[in-house]
Amino acid sequence: MSPKRTPLTGIHEGLGARIIEFAGFHMPVSYTSILEEHQAVRERIGLFDVSHMGEFFITGPNAGRFVDELVTNDCRKLAPGGVLYTVMCRDDGTVVDDLLVYLIGGGRNPEYMLVVNAANIEKDFSHISAHVSGGVSLENMSDAIALIAVQGPASLELLGRCPFFAPAMDGVSSLEYYHFMRFEREGETITVSRTGYTGERGFELFIPPRFAAGLWSELMQSGAPLGIKPVGLAARDTLRFEASFCLYGHELDDRTTPLEAGLSWVVKLDKESFIGKRALAEEKKKRPKRKLAGFELEGRNIARQGFRVFCGGRHAGAVTSGTYSPTLKKSLCMALVENDPSSPAGAYEIEIRNAMMPAQAVALPFYKSRAKG
């Protein structure tokens, strides 16, 4: 099957972006320089096409209970307009995917939007479908929604400069972190969500595909005086890495549990029931076998995914993501390592092309923005 194009692929090609196939889509990996794009988001503003992400809608009188059973975090805390980061697991506690849950409307006929990883759209849909019961309907709207992310300290200022958002700016400017609002344009729904995957203040804009090219151009034009740059997947990865957000396929996969991956904060074992609860409760009691840890390397070699981690000379795990941090100017990595409290601190080494490189365990996240979300 040939890769899909997003409504913006033509624009990326016109900008001279390097295009790769990612999760079945033609996606821009970088436009000019990964480091410049990264810095634009940390210091000013960056624009991302993330239309490859999947969106599922779950509705019906039993939708609330269904979604709460599906995911590990507590959806009962959500009010309409709220967003929740969570994972969904199998019965054995391994992670199917990490996702965002949007509560669009509550009441007797609630409506939820689930935003899932592009690479997992089919897997997630069949996992969710297998659990659907009466009073719940599930719809995959991924091809009918384009997603543009605006990230960086100047992101709110940018939306304020765009005529596109003029009718909604009162609501947009008062949005809190992990909240969203919707407005109508030409009879279609626009969703503005104060979320992101960069560790910087920003918004994600869910729009019908026919608006995508026009909105992209408007954002680029209005953002020019603010120093906006289009940002590809490569810098999206280094940005999320610095903020130490998990990336499915790296920190999370079909064999990892959320407790291992440092996501116990989204696993609410006090909930009456959810898929995987028994296994995760058991795992927590016994102590997870592995833990996600951050490391700083002494040199500037990069510890990449799959490189082996040693503790006191013993093989203790593997790197999940690693790069040279453009903001912190250090070689950093995250790794899943044995969760052994008796491991001596500071005794870690990472094997890089047959050489053992000393690595210091450091706290996650590596980077925290002064202005949250």
């Binding site: 990996v29 970088s30 990069i302 790069t323």
Partner: protein, 128 residues
Amino acid sequence: MKPEDMRFTKEHEWVAVNDDASEAAVGITDYAAGELGDIVYIELPKEGAHVRCMQPMGTIEAVKTVADLYSPLSGVVSAVNKNLENSPEIVNKSPFGDGWFVRIRIADAGELDRLMNYTAYRAMIGKE
């Protein structure tokens, strides 16, 4: 030296040979630097190290990938570009100039005949 006067390997290194073919400067091409993207660390051989034709002599770490650096010639490393230690991005900015990697004292000038000229290199990367 202009790229037109350099010689090239299929591993995208350039070689700038001095007049009496006793020494050569070595770097990577603009095409290679562009393909690697932002370079963040370069591991080079030390001065005085013996290097062998088409054997790895170092590594180039870019944000997204890592590449081996091959020696285009056999000989002894006579100089190393120390500026790359703290500013590897020079290679992205000036691959044919300030971004040179090492100079090699040539042991076997016959190896030069195996290198491509600029036209052949451009043809190889599909830019003729």
